[in-house]
């Protein structure tokens, strides 16, 4: 609820609401937490429980048609003074219109889960597995959520900010 005043403040500053924001707001009214544009890149911050609904609209809406999922990644905001520690970042592209969009969804610290978008874009398969592998974020509905790069019995999530650069001695204990 505390986020509510923020969009009202920012709305007058950006009077021409972009097509993407308008179409998503029409169909999922409460989903968008913030909108920003910098360096020519538009960013939507959406609620993580409504992420899948937003993504479905972004993909299938005839005016938007973001049919190409370029990338999925996450950022550990431990040292960034943000409210939520983890944010999952999606990069979409509507290649016919030549439009790009970044969608970010912050996750609650006690429940690192977000819906998988594998059913919308098959390319999400390994991208989501890598985020799970590196950050421990669980993608609900992913058909085969296993570690991608690290060994299956690797206990930590190496791209988290509290994981040391030199590891925790896994190499020394590894049996060849």
């Amino acid at each position: 609820m505390s986020e509510e005043p923020k969009p009202e403040e920012t709305q007058p500053e950006t009077p021409p609401e972009s097509l993407v924001v308008r179409r998503v707001r029409e169909q999922v009214p409460d989903a968008i937490l913030a909108v920003s544009e910098s360096l020519g890149e538009e960013t939507l911050v959406v609620r993580c429980d409504l992420l899948h609904a937003c993504m479905a609209i972004l993909k299938s809406d005839p005016e938007l048609k973001f049919d190409f999922l370029a990338d999925i990644t996450a950022v550990d905001q431990l040292y960034l003074n943000e409210q939520n520690r983890f944010v999952v970042v999606y990069h979409l592209c509507a290649y016919r219109a030549g439009r790009r969009l970044r969608v970010k969804t912050p996750l609650p610290d006690d429940d690192l889960r977000v819906a998988s978008i594998y059913d919308l874009w098959p390319s999400a398969d390994w991208l989501e597995r890598e985020v799970y592998d590196m950050y421990g974020i669980v993608f609900d509905g992913h058909p085969d959520l296993r570690r991608l790069l690290m060994p299956d019995d690797f206990g930590s999530y190496p791209l988290r900010k509290d994981y040391p650069l030199h590891g925790k001695g896994e190499r020394d204990n590894f049996v060849f």
């Binding site: 910098s38 370029a70 290649y95 390319s123 019995d153």
Partner: protein, 420 residues
């Protein structure tokens, strides 16, 4: 032809395979028994280290399960502890076929974040170098793909021409493979006066090799039997699975970042984007062959129009000053010191940027989050190979065992950027 090695499987793999076999549903006319074959991690046709567990019915691939991570080096983690110019050296190691393209791809994203405008000379030089490395990449890709299928001669022709290109890279950058040549806002140094002639010579040699490979393969009955209709990817699937570059264009999708989201000076140069029809191994080969010719056009145009002037952009605190200035001006020496010492380097403002370039294999994206310090807070590499290899099980399903290397060769998986 020996296409796979029956390696020893460790215990965890056997357990996983048992589970996978248990979940597999057989068609009614299929025999009850299938064989599990390990392809890799060490196999000449993987051109890197990757591992596939192939489930075979006779010689037909029923299911392929890729396992990756053998070359996982933690570049993204390491990048958070390196300055922007230091990260350029890591981008070499991600792609051992066209490191220059990776150098240029990363600094493109960093410059977008910092807001640096490049000098015209730097832009034309980057185009020339990126296209030369695209030619080298495609020559190796076509050469090794044909080697895997059994056409040894084309491989030798490709590598002979690549040698000329690598001599050029050595003359320009000082190294053959780990070029680390791009710097934020410019290049490591200017090229020598003989660069245009060397580039023209390298282009001529590459085109000669391309024509020779073309004569050997394009209408070769054996080559076409091995490649036509193999590993087909429809245009819809290609977009949905995140294919980019020659793989996407072979499926008939007209999408190339150099045309659609022009960067550097690609919008001022004249070139065409080849498009395939069937999206099979043969079309991917044809697209790569035509891209070599188009890249040759681009190199010649860039070299002919190469403007004079400085290479480094005019942004004092973020761009390495030229060596000449460093020797003759105290301010430049101080800036040089500030740029290269441990803990120093370009400092972008707080923010985030996603910059992507058309690397030889497809869209190479770098997503950088900056917290306003000299180290990136987060560097994400979006490698084309990761998405391409992820769809491999889809492409190979139902094909013969010997087609595994054909499809793998056509995707040009670079294990370095696959695992990062």
């Amino acid at each position: 032809m020996n296409t796979a090695t029956v390696g020893s499987m460790d215990r965890t793999d056997m357990e996983r395979i048992r589970q996978e076999r248990a979940s597999f549903e057989r068609a009614p006319d299929m025999p009850a028994e299938t064989m599990v074959l390990n392809f890799g991690p060490q196999h000449p046709a993987t051109h890197g280290t990757l591992h596939m567990v192939l489930e075979l019915d006779g010689e037909r691939v029923v299911k392929a399960t890729p396992h990756i991570g053998y070359l996982h080096t933690g570049f993204e983690k390491l990048g958070e502890h390196r300055s922007y110019n230091q990260f350029v050296a890591l981008t070499d190691r991600m792609n051992y076929l066209s490191p220059l393209s990776n150098n240029i791809g990363f600094v493109h994203a960093a410059e977008k974040l910092i807001g640096i405008e490049l000098t015209p000379r730097c832009q034309y030089l980057r185009v020339a170098l990126a296209e030369l490395s695209r030619i080298a990449d495609h020559l190796v890709c076509v050469g090794t793909a044909s080697l895997d299928i059994g056409a040894f001669t084309a491989f030798l022709y490709g590598f002979r021409a690549r040698e000329v290109l690598y001599d050029l890279f050595e003359a320009v950058t000082g190294t053959r493979l780990t070029t680390s040549f791009a710097r934020v806002g410019g290049l490591l140094r200017d090229v020598g006066p003989d660069f245009p002639d060397m580039a023209r010579n390298a282009v001529a040699e590459s085109l000669k090799a391309t024509e020779e490979i073309d004569k050997l393969l394009t209408h070769n009955r054996i080559w076409r039997d091995r490649t036509e209709g193999i590993g087909r990817l429809s245009a819809e699937d290609a977009v949905a699975c995140g294919a980019t570059g020659p793989v996407l264009r072979a499926s008939g999708v007209d999408w190339d970042l150099r045309k659609n989201e022009p960067y550097l000076v690609y919008d001022r140069l004249d070139f065409d984007i080849p498009i395939g029809e069937n999206g099979d191994v043969y079309d991917r080969y044809l697209v790569r062959m035509e891209e070599i010719r188009q890249s040759a056009r681009l190199v010649l145009q860039a070299v002919d129009r190469l403007p004079s002037g400085p290479v480094g952009a005019d942004a004092d605190h973020n761009v390495l000053p030229s060596k000449d200035d460093v020797y003759h001006s105290m301010e430049a020496l101080i800036y040089h010191f500030k740029m290269t010492m441990e803990g120093h380097g370009p400092i972008p403002p707080k923010g985030e940027a996603y910059g992507s370039t058309e690397a030889p294999n497809g869209e190479l994206g770098f997503y950088i989050v900056s917290d306003g310090t000299r180290h990136p807070y987060r560097v994400r590499v979006r490698p084309p190979s990761l998405l391409h290899f992820a769809m491999f099980p889809r492409l190979i399903k139902g094909h013969m065992l010997s087609d595994v290397v054909a499809v793998l060769g056509s995707l040009n998986i670079i294990a370095g950027e696959l695992d990062r």
